[in-house]
Symmetry: C2
Subunit: 81 residues, 2 copies
């Protein structure tokens, strides 16, 4: 069966997020007042699997091996049939 | 009042997504079967505004001026009190 996996990868709390700092400064220069900027990456794709559990396990392995760096990233997985 | 804005920026349909192609190839090399890979960026931040509408207008302007390139990107805005 084909499942859709949605994976959100973000930096762990306390990790320096230079992109967020840069965007916040740029927004300030443009006259906007935004604070607490936080960035994340979203990956959506299709997996062939027998069950939702199997698809989630596959997606988790993909995160551990390629999509996220477990030392600095948190990730969340959502699998939809 | 302080509102939380969540902005999702993704490439328009038909735009080349080299990052997605590279990840899909890498996953294939690792023995995973994933297809239809799609990447997006997620920005979360706080805005000072009087109403939800005002916060949404501000967030929309931020997208147009800095966070997204309207020529190649689609973006969606979610504002929570």
């Amino acid at each position: 069966m084909e499942y859709t996996a949605k994976i959100k990868v973000e930096l762990k709390t306390g990790m320096l997020d230079p992109e967020a700092i840069t965007i916040e400064k740029a927004l300030d220069n443009l006259g906007f007042k935004a604070s607490g900027f936080h960035t994340a990456r979203l990956f959506t794709f299709k997996i062939e699997a027998d069950t939702t559990e199997d698809a989630t396990i596959q997606a988790d392995l993909m995160c551990k091996k390629l999509l996220a760096n477990p030392v600095i990233h948190n990730y969340s997985i959502e699998v939809i049939r």
